[in-house]
Structure formats: structure tokens, C-alpha cells
Amino acid sequence: MISWPNFLSQLFNGLAQGALLALISSGLTIIYGTLGVLNLAHGAMFMLGGYAGYVAYEASGSFVVAVIAGTLFLGIVGVVMERVIIRHFYSRPPEDQLLVTFGLGICFVEVVRFFFSSLTKTVPPPRLLTGITSLGIMVYPTYRLALVGIVALALLALFIVLYRTRLGMIVRAGIEDSLMVDSLGIDVYRVFMVVFGIGAMAAGFAGIVNAPVVSLTPDVGEAILVQTFVVVVIGGVGSFTGAVLGGLIAGEIISLTSMVNPGYAYVMLFAAMTLVLVVRPHGLLGTRGRE
């Protein structure tokens, strides 16, 4: 029987997972929107962020340090990856871009497996946020509650960067028409590098703040990658607000279906994606012609 507290806590789980998906997906979607590259290594980057945070936590014992280190490390990984490999693929067909990012994702996963083995690693939540909090009719783990706020702050930061800064203006213009931005005398390739770095940082940040909730394994990114695809298809490619909306929808679908029968979570998620594809082929907030 489904009780109210149970339902509410699942609703909260969905919110937390949805916010997380929104953050990862917005990284994926701004990279795709600006560079035209679908980063199949994005799930692996999420996983890398978790492991980088784990290493930093083991060394410093501080969760805050872990979050900062994990995020910065992924920023560096993103920039290096763009400079060394991805930029050679802008002029190549999209299939090649998919193949190379797919290959890089495998390398990331296997490198981590090589150094950390397949055994699970855990990062405890910061001391301030351990335990449970009573929310009137139900109790809920404090860190999960805080996670919604932390991810919301990160999304807000991303929003400010995208919509309130000069760089964000260029990025959004680049999503609409990167050729036009180029002809306005802006070095789009530098923008591409920064965008890839930001997208990677979003994935890395999500990876480390999520680490106290789930155990870390090298394969943790794979499932997330598939979910972010669904989010992007639902929300519309290249749309930040679409990614946020799609993330929340996907999170709630997974969470609420799991309450009834976990086996059908993906089926429902897929059904939602199909429905969107049939009714609005370009996603809820996507526009035509961004393919």
C-alpha cells in the first residue's frame, strides 16, 4: 500500500534525482548546442567527478575541498579533451564525433577501473548534513534534502553565467548560429573550449555531490548517460530551460514508478520520451533546425 509519507518521500527523491539530471543534461545540451558535438563521454565525466572528489576527500577529509577539487579537475579534463582531441572533429561527420567521445568514455571508465578496481567507494556527506530531518509528516535524510538546494544553486550559477554574462550571451548566440558569431569577429574556438570546460564541470560537480547518495563504481555514469539522453530529447536539444524541465520530469517519472514497481521505471521514462517525440518532435522547449 502506498502511504502519504512514502509518496512524499518518493516525490522528494524524484526532485533530487531530477535536479541532478537537469544539471548533467544542461552541461550536455550546451556543449551540443554550441559545438554541435554530442559528448558520449559525459556519463564517464560524471563518474570521474565522483572519483576525483573521492581522492580529494581521502586526502583532505573535507567535503567542501572534495567538491571544489572534483569540479575543477573535470574543468581541466574538459578543456584538455577539447584542445587535444575534440577540436579536430568539428569538421568531421557527426558519426565520428560520436565514435571518438564514446571511445574516450570507455578509456575514462577503464582508467578508473585500473586504479580503483570495480569495488564500490563511498564519500560520506559533510558532518553538518548527516542524519535525518523531520518534515512534519515524514522524516527525510538531511543530505538528500540539502542536495536539492545544492544542485539548485549550481543550476542558478549556470543560469547566471549563460544569461547574465557576456560569455553567456556569446554562448547562446553560438547555439543559435555559430557561423554568425564567428563572422562577428569572435573567436568561436576559444568559446568552444570554455563551453566544453563548463559542461564538463557541471557533470563533475554533479558526480561529486551525488557521491554521498550512491556508492561510486566505474560504471555509475552509464545509466546516467542514458537518462540524460532522455532528458535532452524531452526538453529539446540546446535548450537550458528544456534540460531543467526535462530533468525534473524524468526524475519524477523514475522515482514515482519505482515506488510501484522499479522494473517499469525505464519503460515509463521511455514511454514519456516517445510521447514527446510523437507530439512535439523537437522536444518541449526545443526549436526547429538545431539538428
Binding site: 560520436l98 565514435l99 545509466a223 548517460l225 519503460v267 539538428e291
Partner: protein
Amino acid sequence: MLGQRRFLIETLTAIGLIAVPFVLPYLGSAPNTVNRILVWGLFGIGFDILFGYTGLLSFGQSALYGTGGFVAAYLLTRAGFPHVILALIIGMIAAAIVGCLVGLIALRRTGIYFAMITVAIAEVFYFVEFNPLSAWTGGENGLPGVPTPSFYLGFTTIHFTSGWSLYPFLALCYFIGIVLALRIVRSPVGAIFSAIRENPLRAAALGHNIHAYKLTAFVVAAAYAGFAGGLLGVLQAFMPPEAFTFDTSGQLVIQTAIGGRGTLFGPLLGAAVWLFLQDFLQATLGLGAAWKLVLGLVFVLLICFLRNGIIGGFKDLYRYLRSTRGTPADLQESASLPGLGADDEPTAAAAEGARNPAARPINPRHHAGTDATVPVLQATGLTKHYGGVIANADIDFTVNQGELRGIIGPNGAGKSTFFKMLTCEVPPTSGKIVFEGRDITGMNVVDVCQLGLTKSYQVNQLFNRLTVRENVTIAALAERRGKFRLDMLRSPSKISGLREQVERTLELVNLTARRDTPVSQLAYGEKRRLEVGLALAASPTLLLLDEPLAGMSPGERAETVKLLKSISQGRTMIIIDHDMDALFELAERITVLQEGRVLVEGKPDEIKRNPQVQEAYLGGMHEVQVTQ
């Protein structure tokens, strides 16, 4: 080159497959590894048709592999069905049906979206296998006890068991698979698959229903996947649930990319590299789990530096060696070739742009009941708005049978938009288009081309990696076969009149000598002529040409004008161009567009003298001079 002799590849494959059990044991390879390579290779043939030939990269083939495998395994184990081969075929059909449904959803979008959707769908299948359907599929335990096939021959029974004993059965399956695949890629359908990979927009504009062909490729790939999935169960005597994982799809993609996409044999080679390297790195070098890291790095390097995989690399090397060693002979050959097309012209002039005066124009298709007095095309009140921008406003336009109409106008006058509306590439905001008495407003570009209205593009839209002859063939196929036909096992040489139509078109646009050159190696002027040739090979009753002279040198222009004159005989044509001298020479009537409207229409002489036209082109000059 390989493939020119009939059945050469088939024969070589058969010899290779027969030789394997006599050779490989001495090289220390286990029969089980060889058998697994064959199953991956067969799985990959279908995937290569989908990815290498049609250009659709799916990361969800595991769904179909698993479906075929589990249907066959379920029949053979739980349902007690006795016929192995029949069970495999039923599994294949089940996978094809599922593939058709999956394709209908995934193919709603193209490119990157397609890849994402296939990943998501495959993940759903994985979860469905594990949970809702676990009563049938055994969930995470899979289905053990899949039997191996045996044949009763009347006097004796051949029983395939495992190892080298199973090999002949798998080799036979692979051989049949490769023979069928070779026929498919050489058929008209195969040619259209490549056209879709190279330029889907043009393939559709030439009258091919590309959506239906993409779905066909998807279903073919699904059928191969389903059969291979069934074989996996037979091979292991157990149907593993891992068949459904993302890893399966990923491994297939990697193997195909390593071996070489678009080669059919690439996946087999890739699987061999993958499985032998795995054995070598794990067992011989003792790398343990790190083998996958090494393979991942190899894969990334290969994508970066050898984009067509190992087979593609060898092909390039072969071509390179041939071109460096054979330079003098090749030069001679290419210098003498153009003479073929022009017997009575000096060779120097023939080398660029001259054409055989005897070349007969291709007859446009004739429709029963076409009345010469009825206009071929009649547009009324044609209007197109892009947001607030008015590209075309209230255009009334009529072209009669056999007419050659010119359209001129300054840049931004809306000429190309007008053409796009006529060919139904973009729908008009308002207005009506009637072609040969039929209202075509709101139809799609495929159907309109099938009715006999097509255009050549302002910017070349060719199939770049195909040869000139293949390009023209693809255009001619649409007219010969209609917008969709499943003649997957037919050779194009069996289509009556196709060869002649292609040859005549090549002759007409003077590309006969270049027929086997890939388009990417043509000079600009040649590409431009091919662009016209593509539209021409579709044998339209009404041919639209969007700036056929754009970017040409004066010499090329003169030649092209001659070409246009010769093809205009017995055909209705509308030409847009900025070269007024050429248009005044060619066209019987000229329509002048300005700011999206018809400014004036009349005979060339009238247009030349028209003060409004002079104003439109030279307008503002007086004012500029005054202010200076």
C-alpha cells in the same frame, strides 16, 4: 579493382571460410573464439548496412540481438520446439518486426537524436528482459540448455555440437549472410542507401522516399541482429542476458569502426582483432582487466587517424601505391579519355567542356492526356513569409508547354524561395500551385519529383563520395522505380532502360570520360554540370535550374549555355540566373522579380528596354552620383 569480376568476393569468402579450420588451429586459436568471431561478424553485416552504407549510427542494436536470441532460445528450451533452424528464423523475424517498430520511433529524428533514441530504447529492452519478462527470459539467469542443430539427410544425421564441429554450420550462416548483403548493397536499394548517407536532402529531392528506405535499412539490420542473437544461444548452449546490455551495442560499434565501416567485412575483422587482442592481452601479457583500456585507446587512436578502419586503411594504401607507381600510364590514360566523347573536336578543346553534337536529349516523360494548351505550371497568389520578412508576395506565374522561361532579379529578390515553393521544398504561406492540371500545393518534394518536376540547386547538392555514374544512376532510379520499391536482391543492370538513360545523361553533360571518378575529385565546372545532370536524369517534364552558370569561367559559361540549349528541346524549363546575356540568348520570355514581387514579364527585347528593369538594376545610381 576487386568486385568488378562477378562473384569474386563471394568465391574468396567461401575459400577463406573453408580454409580457416585447416589453418587457424596451427596458429593456436581456439575454435570457440573463431565461432564467436563469426557470430559477431554476422551481427555486424546488418549493422554495417545500417551504419556504413546508410549512415545511421545506432547504439541500440543489442535490443534486436537480444530479442532474436531470446525468442529462438525460448522456443528451443521452454517451449520444446525441436527445429533449431526454424527457431532461428522465427527469432530473426521477431527481431525484424521489433526493429520495424523501434525504427518507426527512432527514425522520427536524424543524426545525433537518432543515436540518443536508440540508446534509450535499448536500455528499456534490457530492463524489460530483467523484470517484466523474466518469467519467459529467465531474468538474470538467462536461458540454459539451447540445443545445437542437426540435419537428417535420409541415410545419416549430421550433428553440429561445439567447437570445430559447430564451425561449418556457423560458417555457412555467415556465408549466406554475406552473399545476401553483397546483393543488397549492389541493388538499387543499396545505391539509395549510400545516397541517403551522402546527401539525404538531395536523395529526397530526386524522388526517393528516404524515410521508407531508412526504415528498410533498420529492419535489415534488425534481421541480421536477430539471427546472430539466436546463433549466440546455440554457440554457448545458453542464452545470456548480457546480450541485451549497452556493452553489446558498444562492442559492435567499436568492432565495425576498427575493421572498417561500409565494407561488410569490417565487423568480422574488427571482431577478430577485438577477441584475439583480448585473449592476447589477458592471457599472454597478463594485463587482467586493463585489456579493455588498451582496446579503448586503440579505438580512439584509430578513429582519430584511420577513420575508415583497417580495411579502409588498406584500401587507401592500395590506391596510394597505385597512384605513385602508375603515374605516367594514368596520365596518358586520362588525357586520351576525353576524346571518346567528342570525335570531331580537337582534343585540347575536348578536354574541357566540349560535347558530342550527336548526343540526343533525354526525352521527358510523357503523361497520357497532357494537353499542349494547358499550362504546365500555374502559380496563383504565391506568398511566403519568414516571420516578418516577406520573401515572396502574391506571385502569379504561368509557364506553357515547351517554354524556356528565364527569371532574373537582384540579390534578395526571392528567386530561390520561389523555386523552393514550386518544388514543394518549403510550403507557401498562401497561394496555389498547379502542375499539369494537378494542385500540388502542400505536397512533399518526393511526390512532386515523381510527378516530373525537379530542380538543380544553386549550391551543388551531390553525393560526394560516390562516382559520377553512381550519382546519375541514383537520379535515374527514382524515375525508373518510383519513390519506394523493395527490389533488394535485384541487380541494377536488370532494370530496363536504366543504363541507356545514365549513359545518355552523361553524354549530354559531357561527363562520360569522368564516369568512374568520385565526385569529390571533380573540378568545379564538372560538378556544376553534374548538378544539372542529376536533375536531368530524373527526366522531368518541368526542369527548374537555379543559377546553373554561377561561378563558372566565361569558357565554361559558353559551353553550359550550349548544353542548356540542347536539353531544352522538347522540355519545359525555368532558369534563374544573374548572367543576363546568357538568359536573353536562351529564354523566350523573362520574368523579373524584385523585392518578392513580379516586376515585369515579357520577351527579352522588351525586358532590355524596360525602364522599370533598368531602374531595378541600376536604380540608385543617379542618386549616388548626385550625392557624390
